[in-house]
């Protein structure tokens, strides 16, 4: 083969890069054989697997092909009561009294076991939730292990976390977690609770219970005293039973703002402590002096990470008008190179939408966006025939008053707006019922500090997006919830500060 020569000067407004005409990546699926999923899972109560008293089970499916993976127990009020009683007993008789450094040993052991079984956990996470194996392997599972390690370290150092105060444990924590990061959210909830001497009743989301149940197996093998962690599966009614149980001292919930409000109402008048981590509609702001190529990559990570099922997703993009055409063009080319498909394929960038229900929500908003007069652009990729799928999508010419700019879509759909001045973009970014996260892209350090000072969001990333670390607190303003998880701040919701 010799070098061929051709002339290639085209009119620049018609230029489009091509990504799938030659040299395609062969399928590289992760093997399912490294993961064992039982055909049926019971409830993990008092250190053992117990049948649900109602005898009911529900299916959990693989959203990438709609095939049943397993069936899990549907816990009713009586089951929740059993779990809370077990947690109370464990709290009063064992866990509360145990020296902190002994508690730490158990948490360290869980962390190590999560690492040892990382591959299996990653595969199950991708099978059950639809997220790409690259993300569950490189982000979800290692970050979950890190959370256990981090809080294990705090267990016997609480006097340094709260100098000159005495931090006492709260009691039994009821924890309800969402389907977008099933294992990671379980770690976020369980690790600080155990480190501070509390016991736990945790309910994973009904569409993604499997990794939490695998974590229950790990906890059982770790020899953690029975009843310290109880995991009950079920849908909204199970969650309500936990929230309303009189012997629960603390509720930690991550999920929708709608459910968060219900929880807030139902615990009014009780002395339950509560933290809520709810929805978001993060503003990601690109100034004209930003490193644009990296900003574009950050926008892509911000909105298409985990199919956009991220409460802190950068779903509202504000671009300074002078660079908006350039940024939009780069974004359009970039989404063409995203690989959508089998979550277990190591080359997949965007996996399956978590559930049929969520896919319908996303489709509803795409329709609204079109009706509102915004211009839609989606990747030209083909989608698998079965399962729940959505192409990476963006809307340009979006108005601040448009619903797709105001409401949380929780899918791979980006709304792009433009702005002219700093004051304008701060006002628009803050003009939202949510306040979970935000992003700022600029080459100018002073501008970053000005923006972060004036924006009302729990986390503000500068020249990056969607970065998580166990040492860094996370949580929202306004309807994005209250309380902080992660870091030193994440200990506070699980302690009573006395004297």
């Amino acid at each position: 083969m010799a070098v061929t020569k051709k002339k290639s000067v085209k009119k620049n407004n018609t230029i489009k890069l091509k990504f799938d005409t030659s040299w395609l990546y062969a399928p590289a699926p992760e093997s399912k054989s490294a993961a064992t999923i039982k055909p049926q899972y019971d409830l993990f109560i008092n250190g053992e697997w117990q049948k649900p008293s109602g005898g009911k089970y529900f299916d959990t499916i693989n959203p990438a092909n709609e095939e049943k993976l397993s069936e899990v127990a549907d816990a009713n009020e009586a089951d929740v009561n059993k779990a809370v009683t077990a947690a109370r007993n464990a709290y009063e008789k064992v866990w509360k009294k145990m020296p902190a450094k002994e508690r730490a040993k158990y948490i360290f052991r869980i962390a190590r076991m999560v690492q040892e079984r990382a591959r299996e956990l990653a595969i199950i996470e991708s099978l059950d939730g639809g997220k790409p194996i690259r993300e569950s392997r490189d982000f979800d599972v290692p970050t979950a292990a890190n959370h256990f390690f981090y809080y294990a370290g705090w267990a016997d150092k609480l006097e340094y976390a709260f100098p000159n105060r005495t931090a006492a444990s709260v009691g039994v924590a009821g924890q309800i977690i969402p389907w977008n990061f099933p294992l990671l959210m379980a770690a976020w909830k369980i690790a600080p609770a155990l480190a501070t001497g509390n016991t736990v009743v945790l309910k994973p989301a009904e569409t993604t219970p499997l990794t939490a149940l695998k974590l229950a197996e790990i906890i059982q093998e770790s020899g953690l005293p029975e009843g310290v962690v109880n995991i009950v599966t079920g849908a909204g009614a199970t969650g309500a039973a936990i929230v309303n149980h009189p012997d629960i001292n603390k509720i930690a919930f991550t999920g929708s703002t709608e459910v968060g409000k219900i929880i807030q109402r139902s615990i009014a008048g009780t002395n339950k402590k509560v933290t809520l981590e709810l929805g978001g509609k993060a503003a990601n702001i690109i100034f004209e002096d930003a490193p644009l190529d990296q900003a574009v990559e950050g926008v892509i990570n911000g909105i298409y990470f985990n199919q956009g099922h991220v409460c802190c997703a950068g779903s509202r993009l504000y671009v300074q008008e002078s660079v908006s055409k350039q940024v939009i063009r780069k974004l359009k080319d970039r989404i063409e190179s995203l690989i959508v498909g089998d979550p277990l394929d190591k080359n997949t960038d965007i996996g399956a939408i978590n559930s049929k229900q969520q896919l319908e929500t996303i489709r509803k908003y795409v329709k609204i966006g079109k009706e509102e007069g915004a211009e839609m652009y989606e990747s030209s990729c083909s989608l698998p025939g079965r399962g729940f799928w959505c192409r990476p999508t963006l809307f340009t010419n979006v108005a601040q008053s448009a619903r797709i700019a105001q409401e949380e879509i929780f899918g791979p759909v980006l709304a792009i707006l433009t702005f002219r001045t700093d004051d304008e973009v701060i006002e628009k970014a803050n003009n939202s019922p949510y306040g979970l996260s935000a992003g700022v892209w600029t080459d100018k350090g002073s501008k970053i500090f000005n923006m972060t000072k004036r924006m009302r969001a729990g986390v503000i990333w500068a020249n990056t997006f969607n970065k998580f670390d166990p040492t860094s607190p996370f949580g929202g303003y306004k309807e994005s919830g209250f309380g902080r998880e992660g870091g030193l701040h994440g200990l506070l919701p699980y302690v009573k500060l006395i004297n």
Partner: protein
């Protein structure tokens, strides 16, 4: 003169886009996560072979050494049929004649470094004569070095004019402009030097001479690919990319291909627009290709060094 000049205005290079180091490094590492297996590995490796500029740039080079290298370029591993040849053989100007003769009829290009390679510390007339010498002796491609001293001193017009003058001296030969990124210090400067080179008429931009460490890295190549993309958007003219130095393993070469594919698209996935400047990469690729065919890794001794 290069045609490009009349097509658009020349920008202020002090305003070249800024680059965020953390972001570039993170993006570059994402390409290494792609899993390239089976048939895409084989076709990718063949593509890599076909993109190699097989290089010998040593003070001790002789005609004998260059002839051997040219033979190797044409006969990479005759026991494995169906292999492509490399793209070019890259030598010093004094060896161009020898290489041209040895490669006659093979379709393999002769590339010559010029312009007082590798330091570039010579007067412009000398550099132009160096270039013309290579071209007159038959070089199809010229790999020039920029004046890094002038660049660091902020004399961008000097650097620009020099590249344009060399481009003129090249005539029909394609011009690769070596930025020597290991001496530039920051990604911002790599981006600026890339812009200067392309607007001055470069047909290719190239990372390194191979004489300075660090030579080619994935992040620095990414910055240059992004510069090429921006230039293409603005002008419609394609510019080629050549990372050189430090790429000696097949796996890394495949990561580079992934990067080219996902940043610039498939139009750049051929040896007209992408090259590897490498001397030992070819044998590692051959070893992998033999392994894909037979299932067994052969010892390095089964592959000729020259």
């Amino acid at each position: 003169m290069p045609k490009v000049k009349s097509l658009f205005s020349i920008p202020d290079f002090t305003l070249s886009p800024r680059v965020d180091q953390v972001g570039v490094e993170e993006r570059a590492s994402r390409f290494t996560k792609r899993s390239i297996k089976k048939e895409s590995k084989v076709s990718g490796l063949k593509l890599v072979l076909n993109m190699i500029d097989l290089t010998t740039l040593e003070g001790k080079d002789t005609e004998g050494k260059v002839k051997q290298l040219c033979y190797k370029a044409m006969h990479l591993h005759d026991t494995l049929p169906g292999l492509p040849t490399v793209a070019a053989v890259c030598v010093y100007p004094t060896m161009v004649k020898t290489a041209k003769k040895a490669l006659e009829g093979s379709g393999i290009k002769v590339a010559s470094v010029a312009t007082a390679f590798p330091s570039g510390q010579a007067p412009r007339e000398v550099k132009i004569r160096d270039t013309k010498y290579a071209v007159v002796n038959g070089a199809d491609e010229v790999d020039m070095v920029i004046s890094r001293g002038k660049f660091h001193a902020g004399d961008y017009n000097y650097v620009f004019d020099e590249i344009a003058a060399i481009k003129e001296a090249c005539g029909e030969a394609r011009l690769k402009v070596i930025l020597e990124t290991g001496e530039l210090g920051t990604f911002d400067k790599v981006r600026r030097a890339s812009d200067i080179a392309m607007y001055a008429g470069a047909d290719f931009i190239k990372t390194s001479t191979g004489k300075i460490q660090p030579a080619a890295t994935m992040p620095v190549t990414l910055v240059m690919l992004e510069a090429i993309r921006e230039y293409y958007y603005k002008t419609g003219r394609m510019v080629g990319m050549k990372p050189a130095g430090g790429i000696s393993k097949s796996k890394l070469a495949l990561h580079y291909l992934v990067m080219v594919k996902e940043v610039l698209g498939d139009d750049w996935l051929n040896n007209e627009w992408f090259r590897f400047g490498a001397s030992s990469l070819a044998n590692d690729v051959l070893m992998q290709l033999v392994k894909e065919k037979t299932g067994i890794y052969q010892a390095a001794n089964y592959f000729s060094v020259d």
